[in-house]
């Protein structure tokens, strides 16, 4: 297993784990090295930049949700700290 994560689009601010990665693992990105603040299970995401509350979470170069709290690089990203924008759009009509 050469790589443990994948960043799908250059606009993305999160990466997806391709293996279970323990907390405190150092992750080498293109321009920096970050440390994981949580255990990241296979298929789950972690932040590769600091993300402010209400900022968009970008994967596939598209918005997959909004941060409900401030997220630091290396943090696990999931339902506990992001919410759908889709469900809000559809609540209008």
């Amino acid at each position: 297993m050469k790589n443990k994560y994948i960043i799908i689009d250059s606009k993305d601010n999160c990466a997806t784990a391709l293996d279970d990665i323990p907390r405190d693992t150092k992750i080498k990105l293109k321009d920096k090295i970050i440390k994981l603040n949580h255990h990241i299970s296979f298929g789950h995401k972690f932040a590769i930049n600091n993300i402010k509350k209400e900022d968009h979470i970008i994967k596939y170069g598209e918005i997959i949700g909004i941060a409900t709290e401030s997220i630091s690089e290396g943090d696990w990203i999931h339902t506990h700290n992001i919410k759908s924008t889709y469900l809000e759009v559809n609540n209008d009509g």
Partner: protein, 375 residues
């Protein structure tokens, strides 16, 4: 060089085939065996059979009629013979007339009108198809640019690997084809739920944007199973994007309905039920001369009239079903290979297949099955 074009078969209606097939088509289930016996005697002929053509009406009937006509009108088809029984709902002559609108040579007859029963009917069919095959053999491949390619974007047997490897690889390829002036069709409307607001932002105008949103108005908004969430999918849009990323990022030109054809070049969405065989059949009937099929679990399925390239990102499937998978995208998951790198391999394969190289499904003869949405 590879981006300049491919060698294809020119058709009188301006479309370009990457195959030069004779279609032998049954207008009704009762003609299926005769159709198969005729096709097996002719080089480059393909039997298109189905369990319909009688005892049906309404949308089910018109869907069957239009899909059968669409398949035989595909650019990869040189000409067709329609064989009916003679007392069915779908008249072989009416089906032939519809196919003739594509300016191809088309013949038809009914088994009940041939003295000598099915033995004579098979002989008659073979004789007609031998003539068609001779004419087809006189057409030679010529050089054309990629604006003549219509690509169908399909996925099936998806798994964890699809959204991370094969689908984004196909998305890059689709964008490349669209940039070269070609056409792509993204089917499987149910898979867009959760990301329609993102798709609608890419629509060419407000009307198309609204049309995309209206497809889902008042529909179920939660598409994730508990297993999806446990697996790391945080929002409905993240799940849907894993699928629709195979459509790339191009501007969406419009929405076409099942049995319709794209009304121009570029990326089009197609509304249809999203079952693999039905989707691939619908794409071919809409004029796709090539289809790329992303899979995780693996699938052997091909299509009678359009080559189907399989790309898979699951390493186990790529090993277990190696002779069914054309492009192994699993190094994205296992070995740090870039999505762009795999997409380049896929593009080279697409160009080779356009130029005549057989896909694995073609080599194995998995190219006779079709599916029709009975509605």
């Amino acid at each position: 060089m590879m981006d300049e074009g491919f060698l294809g078969y020119p058709r009188s209606n301006g479309t370009i085939g990457i195959r030069n097939k004779i279609v032998v088509l049954s207008s009704v289930v009762c003609a299926n065996t005769v159709v198969r016996r005729v096709a097996e005697k002719i080089d480059n002929a393909i039997a298109i059979t189905h369990p319909f053509g009688c005892g049906q009406g309404g949308i089910s009937l018109s869907n069957t009629f239009n899909i059968l006509a669409g398949l035989a009108s595909n650019p990869n088809v040189f000409g067709a013979l329609v064989i009916g029984l003679g007392c069915e709902v779908i008249f072989s002559s009416l089906l032939a007339d519809k196919i003739k609108k594509s300016e191809k040579p088309v013949n038809s007859f009914n088994i009940q009108d041939v003295k000598g029963g099915t033995i004579s009917a098979i002989e008659k069919g073979i004789s007609i198809c031998e003539n068609l095959a001779k004419e087809a053999g006189e057409i030679k491949r010529e050089f054309f640019d990629f604006s003549h390619i219509t690509l169908g974007l399909e996925c099936g047997g998806s798994d964890f690997s699809s959204g991370l490897s094969s689908n984004p690889s196909l998305g890059i390829l689709s964008d490349k084809l669209v940039n070269l002036g070609g056409t792509s069709i993204l089917p499987e409307v149910a898979e867009w739920a959760g990301a329609e607001h993102l798709l609608s932002r890419r629509a060419i105008n407000e009307e198309v944007a609204q049309e995309i949103m209206n497809l889902f108005k008042g529909k179920q908004v939660e598409n994730r199973s508990p297993g999806n969430i446990a697996g790391g999918l945080s929002t409905p849009e993240e799940k849907s994007l894993g699928n629709i990323t195979k459509g790339g990022k191009a501007t969406i030109q419009g929405v076409i309905q099942y049995t319709e054809k794209p009304k121009g070049k570029g990326l089009w969405l197609m509304v249809e039920p999203g079952l693999d065989v039905i989707s691939v059949t619908a794409l071919a009937a809409a004029g796709a001369n090539i289809i790329v099929f992303t899979t995780g679990r693996g699938t052997p399925f091909g299509c009678p009239v359009a080559p189907v390239i399989k790309i898979c990102g699951n390493p186990k499937t790529c090993e277990y079903m190696a002779n069914n998978i054309d492009i192994d995208a699993s190094p994205i998951i296992t070995n740090g290979k870039s999505i762009e790198g795999i997409s380049d391999l896929l593009w080279k394969k697409l160009v080779d297949v356009c130029n005549g190289e057989k896909t694995n499904a073609e080599k194995l003869g998995f190219d006779e099955d079709i599916g029709i949405w009975r509605a």
